[in-house]
């Protein structure tokens, strides 16, 4: 079965990102597919590559990136939510005249169209948030 996930909360603040990741990992281990994880609202903070996490603690952005690398999960950050919160990929950074970008590897910037598409194409869309 094909799942899509929507994550609406940032890492280390709310359990949503952890719950969604654990669900994704179990679903993949059981042979299901995760077609996309869409990060919206404060969920876009899951996609920063500048987070420095103590070594004995879970690194949430890297956990997501590993799912993308090993299972081809499409990690999409909402462009409008991301720009407001200072999450930019290289192209967006240049376009807005910023001197840096911070989107983590494995993530990409997208729009709500991708969320709607997931709702249509996936067998189930699960929402994790507050």
């Amino acid at each position: 079965m094909k799942f899509a996930l929507l994550v609406n909360e940032g890492p280390y603040q709310h359990q949503a990102a952890d719950s969604a990741w654990h669900f994704a990992r179990s679903a993949l281990a059981k042979g299901h597919g995760i077609s996309r994880v869409f990060f919206y609202h404060d969920g876009v903070y899951n996609g920063t590559r500048l987070g420095v996490v103590p070594q004995d603690e879970r690194h949430i952005p890297e956990r997501w990136a590993l799912l993308a690398k090993e299972h081809g999960v499409d990690l999409v950050i909402c462009v409008a939510a991301a720009q407001r919160r200072g999450i930019l990929d290289a192209a967006e950074g240049r376009r807005h005249g910023k001197d840096a970008d911070n989107l983590a590897e494995g993530f990409r910037i997208g729009g709500l169209g991708q969320l709607i598409e997931s709702g249509i194409e996936a067998d189930r869309l699960l929402v994790f948030g507050d």
Partner: protein
């Protein structure tokens, strides 16, 4: 197929739990995750409500129960424990999956 309701909030903090139980149709399933697990504790008013909601299948995510310092003995009767694999199975068996955010 019937709905899987996901509750992730404590009934002592928000009214998602009450709203869900009022709206959940017979035959649907309710899974308590995150702070939602507080709705299944024995000796509480929300726990009594959940115990009486016998027309729904009721589940608690064991990882989130354990993370909050509780075990199965703290739960009201009629509630089943599931792990994340069980969560996935429930999401497969039910459609849609409705989060009460």
């Amino acid at each position: 197929m019937s709905t899987l309701h996901l509750i992730n909030k404590s009934p002592f903090e928000k009214d998602a739990f009450d709203s869900c139980l009022r709206h959940a149709l017979p035959g649907s399933a309710v899974l308590l995750i995150e702070d939602g697990i507080y709705g299944a504790l024995r000796g509480t008013a929300p726990g009594d409500c959940l115990e009486q909601a016998t027309e729904q299948q009721r589940y608690v995510l064991v990882e989130d129960l354990r993370a909050r310092g509780f075990g199965p003995e703290a739960l009201v009767t009629g509630v089943q424990l599931v792990d994340y694999d069980g969560f996935v199975d429930l999401a497969v068996a039910h459609e849609p999956v409705q989060s009460w955010l």
